[in-house]
Amino acid sequence: MSAAPAAIALDRITKTYAGTHAVNDLSLEIGTGEFFTILGPSGSGKTTTLSMIAGFVMADGGRILLNGKEMTQEPPQARGLGMVFQNYALFPHLNVFENIAFPLRVRRFADKEVKTRVLEVLSMMSLIGFETRLIRQLSGGQQQRVALARALVFAPSVVLMDEPLGALDKNLRYQMQNEIKELQRKLGTTIVYVTHDQEEAMNMSDRIAIMDKGKVAQVGPPREVYENPRTAFLAKFLGEANLVPAKLRAGAVETPMGAFPVPGAPAGGEGEGFFFIRPERLVVAREPSGEVHAKGSIRAISFLGNVVRYRVALGEQEVTSEMTSGRGDLGLGLGDAVAVSWAPDDGRWLAE
């Protein structure tokens, strides 16, 4: 760990509502300049965690440090954070310029300085010419940009974002993801991003924390969390997963489809759990093509555009395979006998 303090350090924070733990003994360190995403199902505590960082909700226990300074009981206005809200929370009684100038006005910046700074972010966000518009005269995408400009105008070192793209449609959403990511890289801002959209989380983040029931279930870079989930919940929550009930015996897993070696499984261990493999690692064909395979028949084929999804019955068990849609199809039909093949490295053992 470096000598500089973490941008944000949460040290065993807890928040209880009506006797149930919304957040339970949670610790996290977020580095300066990091794009850090908190992902989780609704009710997992991700919004409560963000609210505690912002200061809207006070932790019942534990400590919150921002750039090394204790902030646990400080009100929001003392924390100096930028924030983009879920539905933007732009002030409807102010025009675009005054919305963006708000943090500067409150800080009593001179008019001249306010003007310079606001114009700077306006041009950064391609909003020149919109200064005197009212918020309700803007499209969703423009409102998003104003919210972003307001969060950045006073150059805070940390910006919190609470599902900022939730209200935009697919195409605009993807475009804004890239813009935010590029902006963050350029400005070196630390971003804490809350979302329930996994693709968004993987596309933008340096690290992802997946929360479940008030705790962090796993933290790490997107690829690591995707490829090596620690539990069956994580495997299913991030991406699609085949989870075949299995028994571990002498370093190999026994499944209804047969017994396979699995890398990384505890050599001497025994127990019940799952054999886990991602759909895109399974190859469906008339003949086996990988080192490991199982035989079965096709139950369903769905064309999903960029991929084709096959559901294959292997005895009682059903697995899903996803393959890139080529020109024409593989000539496979419902009920056809096929082999499902994979590389031994692609399977994992998950003890529940």
Partner: protein
């Protein structure tokens, strides 16, 4: 063309009939006010403005109008301020005790006015405040606070709480949040509350009859008292003017709402 079944036509006729019944009392008063007859009679045999002239030429009626206006404005200021303060504090209160006070703020709407009137009368008699305009205004405020409270509370409740949070994150203290965000956004509701509180006071009879004495007689009380003595169309003329003021205030409220959206 769409078909209109019999049931549709019947229901339409019914609606119009009921609307007519609800309109009738007001229409009768308006028509009589323009009567040229020297006694109450409907429909009038001919029309004139004589009763309006008589009304405006009478010092006692003019005094009543001034009383109504002064008391109405005072009551409006008191109720709007207290109503806003109560709505703001109760919405933000997390604790059971303060929250539990909400029904108290709605009480005067629920308790029959006669009861409130008697209660206030007992209190006023003891304190020798009968006929004091400020005291009548205070008594009217008891009835107008629930109105001002409800209007402002629902506006504050409908306000996106993220707006106040945004103001806090961007550096505002509680007082700055109130001044920079909450008050400007609640302005239309505050104006509405002020207007409806005014109307509540302006229209009040029961409580005023007990407390006004001779000095602080308001317009509706004067109407009431004069009904016993001089049942003549002046009353219809005064009533019509009264209706006019009421609608003026409502139109003002409407115009304010429209200009803000």
């Amino acid at each position: 063309m769409r078909r209109h079944p019999l049931s549709f036509c019947l229901s339409r006729a019914g609606i119009f009939l009921i609307a007519l019944c609800l309109l009738a009392p007001i229409v009768v008063v308006l028509v009589i006010s323009f009567s040229a007859d020297s006694y109450l009679r409907f429909p009038p045999s001919s029309f004139s403005l004589r009763w309006y002239q008589r009304f405006l030429g009478d010092q006692r009626w003019r005094d009543a109008m001034v009383n109504s206006a002064v008391i109405g404005v005072m009551a409006s200021l008191i109720s709007t301020t207290i109503g806003f303060f109560a709505a703001y504090a109760l919405l933000r209160a997390r604790h059971g005790i303060v929250r539990g006070l909400e029904p108290v703020f709605l009480l005067p709407l629920i308790v029959p006015h006669v009861i409130t009137a008697i209660g206030l009368y007992f209190v006023s008699g003891k304190l020798d405040l009968i006929g004091n305009r400020a005291w009548v205004a205070a008594a009217h405020s008891v009835l107008a606070i629930p109105v001002a409270y409800i209007i402002q509370q629902s506006a504050l409740k409908a306000m996106d709480p993220a707006l106040e949070r945004a103001a806090m994150v961007f550096g505002c203290s509680r007082l700055q949040v109130l001044r920079r965000v909450t008050l400007p956004l609640a302005f239309p509701a505050i104006a509405s509350a002020a207007l409806f509180s005014f109307l509540t006071s302006f229209d009040e009879v029961v409580v005023t009859l007990f407390l006004a004495g001779v000095k602080a007689q308001t317009l509706p009380v004067r109407i009431w008292n004069s009904l016993v003595l001089e049942v003549e169309p002046t009353i219809a003329a005064v009533s019509s003017l009264f209706i006019a003021v009421t609608f003026l205030v409502l139109m003002l409220n409407r115009a304010l709402r429209i200009s803000r959206s």
